[in-house]
Symmetry: C2
């Protein structure tokens, strides 16, 4: 069950263009990836905590997104206990650098989408 298309056999798929918008969307242009990043910013660290968000991300999608984010060097996965095996996910510097973009998206949503609100206590800022 490989994620590959019929085109290339190795590596990830080719960038559509060198444009930074396009390249960024190649990585996080979908409905779920940024939500995972958001939750990591909010301090969630385990698979279970990440599953628990109000948007109800499916388990296979979460596993896939964590894998991709890890492959892109935006997230690290470290075991914090051997037995039973338990893992902690955290943003790398590259992942944390998305703060400005996330902040801009939050601001746009709050300003232009009626009915949006930050759940109490949720804030990306430290």
């Amino acid at each position: 069950m490989k994620k590959q298309s019929l085109s290339k056999e190795k590596g990830r798929q080719a960038a559509r263009s060198p444009c930074p918008v396009s390249r960024t969307l190649d990585i996080l242009g979908d409905k779920w990836t940024l939500l995972v990043v958001r939750d990591l910013f909010l301090g969630k660290q385990t698979y279970g905590e990440l599953l628990d968000s109000p948007e109800r991300i499916p388990t296979n999608i979460l596993a896939d997104r964590l894998k991709r984010l890890t492959a892109h060097g935006m997230v690290t996965k470290q075991p914090y206990q051997q037995r039973p095996p338990r893992y902690r996910y955290q943003l790398t510097e590259k992942g944390q650098a998305l703060a400005a973009a996330l902040r801009a998206i939050i601001d746009w949503g709050l300003a232009w989408l009626p009915g949006t609100r930050l759940p109490p206590g949720q804030d990306v800022e430290k």
Copy 2:
């Protein structure tokens, strides 16, 4: 060929949560929508011009995204000539308000994705 799922029969699909990140991703959380917005920022106005970007957006996807952006009040479609019918697409204030988010995404891409570059002359800033 409705975009609807089996769930609700009218209106657009329900927001996954009131979170501004999630609500924003409900609108532009895919690989193409922000590229269309980018091109509109760059001054492209016609369907043909928008089709012409290096990422090669499929025609049906472009038509769909313009429809959605228009439905969300982020883009206007105006005929600028009757015969033959020709249309001009432009960002509304709501669409233009994405400038900060787009800028943040560009900055992140340029800083963290090696090989990205702005094609000469391309810049979101006025």
